[in-house]
């Protein structure tokens, strides 16, 4: 190999790295599933606060949680083959945030943190995850994170609609970006065919 060939090889490596894929290929339905889960839990709480007769937390939340986990496993098995470094990063961020919040939920709620405090931990925590991943790779997730922060702040300002506003935040923060990403993926597939 001479120096001109070496230069040619170096340029091809540089071109590949320069145009590296920074797209987000995480299954968008995961956002929809967990957005619906959070919205349902908060909507039920709002119904309870508004005097509607709804079953207690434990009878509804546990089956919903198990259903959301099962649905996540099912859609994860249908994930895209391509997995970028951004996807890996997104997986780490969401797993850490979700895991820590889940531990906080089981250890703190009803003992040292009231329901409202824990609900805010969840919405602000997931908003942070959406913003971190979104700023790197996805505008819908940024908008979702902003919507979830805005809904959480609004919930603090209007206590009588606290859970209802959080439910709206989960819909706008996770379900809407999930649907936007799913549609983008569907359009991409249709264009490729």
């Amino acid at each position: 190999m001479d120096s001109s060939q070496a230069r040619d090889h170096l340029e091809s490596v540089a071109t590949i790295l320069r145009t590296a894929d920074r797209s987000l290929n995480v299954q968008p339905w995961i956002f929809v599933i967990w957005g619906l889960f959070g919205a349902t839990v908060n909507a039920l709480q709002q119904a309870r606060q508004s005097g509607v007769a709804v079953a207690g937390d434990s009878t509804i939340q546990l089956p919903l949680l198990l259903a959301a986990i099962a649905a996540t496993v099912v859609v994860s098995l249908r994930s895209a083959g391509r997995e970028t470094l951004i996807d890996r990063h997104a997986g780490v961020v969401f797993s850490v945030v979700f895991g820590v919040l889940l531990i906080a939920n089981f250890s703190a709620q009803h003992r040292v943190v009231p329901y409202e405090g824990m609900a805010l931990f969840w919405s602000f925590g997931l908003a942070m995850a959406l913003l971190i991943v979104g700023i790197e790779a996805s505008r819908p997730l940024v908008l979702g994170g902003i919507a979830l922060v805005a809904a959480s702040v609004a919930a603090c300002l209007v206590p009588e609609w606290f859970s209802g506003l959080l439910a709206a935040g989960w819909l706008a923060g996770l379900v809407a970006p999930g649907l936007a990403l799913a549609r983008r993926r569907f359009d991409g597939r249709a264009a490729a065919q």
Partner: protein, 95 residues
């Protein structure tokens, strides 16, 4: 200089994998602009040298093969690029 990475297709594959976590065979074929058989041969050599890890799986009912760079593949690429740069800087010739 790494003998295995003197091939431009293999070098492109390894560089593509450096910038991603997992890449499917079909995506690699698109970026390498080569035939199935040719790419399969190159990937076979990279897998045999433990530069690349291969995973065969089913997505729904469709089989899918995807690849990722191993630690030794990453180290080999970095060494090779350094050697290429050295060659360019010296303006000489390497075997």
């Amino acid at each position: 200089m790494d003998e295995l990475l003197l091939s431009k297709v293999r070098l492109a594959v390894v560089a593509e994998l450096l910038a991603a976590e997992w890449v499917t065979f079909s995506d690699l074929q698109k970026s390498a602009s080569t035939t199935n058989g040719n790419l399969g041969g190159h990937l076979g050599k990279l897998v045999a040298a433990d530069y690349v890890q291969e995973e065969k799986r089913f997505v729904g009912r469709r089989p899918q093969t995807r690849y990722r760079l191993t630690g030794s593949g990453r180290a080999a690429l970095l060494r090779h690029v350094a050697a290429l740069q050295e060659l360019v800087d010296s303006g000489g010739e390497a075997s």
